[in-house]
């Protein structure tokens, strides 16, 4: 009797485990089937390197280079802002902050992670966008820069918490050794501890960037959504994610436009996958 119960529970748990893999495979197959269909009418190179995205003109032009560059520009800007601040914050929390402040800061970071992205997008729209417009004297504040700033807020919690963890978990003997040699606290951090934690910090950065590149809502609300090749951070851009979200509703099922949006999904999937694998490699190197 007991044996039978064990058997049933074991198999049930196994089923749950398989289910998650099963659904991932199913989603992936669906994505591939729908996405690859676009290449019946357009070559992969024309799709990836094409400079115009006019999906509803006749015939449709389905070049996603502006969208890829849009995503990259926004991500690059967000990385530029969130990496120094995030790593600096992690150093402060792990090494410098007094105990009480440390707890408060950690709670604050968690709170930041808990804000829904649509709320961040909304706040960005009413505060950041007009601010960017007036400060830089731009015709519109809906720019890649606005998106980058908002996304930096979203990447920060990931970067801070994982980097802090990496700094915290390096052996205390490194710091002791450096201080015993007459290093100042900052020298010990900069020359020894950051080196020792480097793979964990790189993983933190990659995961933060992974979050940014997949983010949709906030960028759709504040980057202006113009599918043109961006030449700076101060112009409206449209990201891969925002394109799918904005256009999927109006694309006719089975049309080239519809298949193209799925193909964009594949591109996003490949990018995110590559980033996550890189982050994983860094994390494993650390152990």
């Amino acid at each position: 009797m007991r044996k039978l119960r064990e058997f049933i529970i074991e198999k049930l748990v196994l089923l749950c485990g398989l289910a998650s893999i099963f659904f991932v495979v199913l989603i992936f197959l669906f994505l591939l089937r729908e996405g690859l269909a676009v290449f019946k009418t357009i070559s992969p190179s024309a799709f990836l390197a094409g400079k115009s995205w006019y999906p509803i003109s006749e015939p449709p032009q389905l070049g996603i280079l502006p969208l890829i560059l849009g995503s990259l520009v926004v991500t690059f800007g967000a990385a530029l802002i969130s990496i120094p601040i995030g790593v600096g914050c992690a150093i402060y929390i792990a090494e410098i902050a007094p105990k009480r402040l440390k707890e408060i800061l950690k709670a604050g970071i968690e709170l930041l992670a808990a804000i829904p992205s649509v709320v961040l997008g909304f706040i960005g729209m009413v505060t950041l966008v007009p601010f960017v417009k007036t400060v830089f004297h731009l015709p519109t504040g809906l720019t890649a820069l606005s998106g980058s700033i908002m996304l930096a807020f979203m990447a920060m919690p990931t970067i801070v918490s994982i980097a802090e963890d990496a700094l915290y978990s390096i052996p205390k003997t490194y710091k002791e050794g450096a201080l015993a040699m007459g290093a100042t606290h900052w020298q010990a951090i900069w020359r020894v501890m950051l080196r020792a934690a480097s793979s964990g910090i790189l993983a933190a950065i990659m995961l933060g960037i992974g979050r940014v590149i997949g983010e949709t809502m906030a960028v759709m609300m504040i980057t202006g959504n113009a599918a043109v090749i961006p030449h700076s951070l101060f112009v409206p851009v449209r990201t891969l994610t925002a394109t799918i979200a904005a256009e999927m509703g109006e694309a006719v099922i089975g049309s080239e436009h519809y298949f193209a949006l799925f193909a964009i999904g594949i591109v996003l999937f490949v990018i995110s996958f590559a980033i996550n694998v890189t982050a994983d490699l860094f994390l494993h190197k650390r152990q």
Binding site: E176, G182, R195
Partner: protein, 252 residues
């Protein structure tokens, strides 16, 4: 015989815990002084007074004096960077930095910020590694990570990186406890070589080691320095009953 380090009624508290009680001792130049005693007797704490590493722990207070070359290093205006350059420390677990062998050795030079030419650095690396008898083994792999070395080599490297900044005093906190007996014997041999140029203070829980390697020995118990004497005398004819009990293995 010159006194390098002298303590006068040295007391230390961790919060409410009285860890060192009226310690009076004199550590002499070019000799190895061992501090022995059971775990928790304060021997490591005493060692860490001499390079002020106890400062890292919150709630530490000291009383009395600890003089190095006649200067009280417990004074609040002590330059810790200068002190720690002069008084190097070797830890229980070898702790080379996760950098190359070369960078480990020049670390102490680099953090002083002075411009030092490449050839000078090379010379420092060579002489430091020669000082710990590692040069012949490592000369062709100076750029490889220090963490690839064996435990014994790491501990030697940790000593070498101290020699690079020309200290006066070497503090050793159970430097052989992570090593096997052969490696221990070789590190002890190295200590005997080094004592001609440095003042060495070693903390050890291993009485045989103290007897083998040291010239003077202090025995500590519950924060007090019970007895301090020439090593042979302390082991041959201890004056205090408690010392006798400890070295004959009755506790500890």
């Amino acid at each position: 015989m010159t006194d390098k380090i002298v303590t006068k009624d040295l007391n230390l508290w961790y919060g409410g815990f009285h860890a060192l009680k009226d310690v009076n001792a004199a550590f002499q130049v070019n000799r190895i002084t061992a501090i022995i005693g059971p775990s928790g007797c304060g021997k490591s704490t005493l060692l860490r007074v001499f390079n002020r590493m106890n400062d890292l722990i919150e709630g530490v207070r000291t009383g009395g004096e600890a003089l190095i070359d006649g200067l009280d290093i417990l004074a609040p205006d002590t330059d810790l960077v200068a002190l720690r350059k002069k008084v190097g420390m070797v830890f229980q677990r070898p702790n080379p930095f996760p950098l190359s062998i070369y960078e480990n050795i020049v670390f102490g030079v680099r953090i002083r910020g002075a411009k030092v030419s490449r050839s000078e650095l090379d010379a420092i690396v060579e002489s430091s590694l020669r000082g710990v008898l590692l040069w012949d083994d490592l000369r062709d792999m100076l750029r490889s990570p220090a963490l690839r070395l064996s435990l014994e080599q790491r501990q030697r490297l940790c000593i070498a990186r101290l020699l690079a900044v020309k200290p006066d005093v070497l503090l050793m906190d159970e430097p052989c406890s992570a090593l096997d007996p052969q490696a221990t014997a070789r590190i002890e041999e190295l200590m005997r070589e080094l004592k001609h140029e440095y003042t060495i203070v070693i903390v050890t829980h291993n009485m045989q080691q103290a007897a083998r390697v040291s010239d003077d020995t202090g025995f500590m118990l519950l924060g007090e320095l019970i007895e301090f004497n020439r090593t042979e005398e302390l082991f041959a004819s201890p004056r205090d009953k408690r010392t006798e009990d400890y070295i004959t293995g009755r506790y500890g």
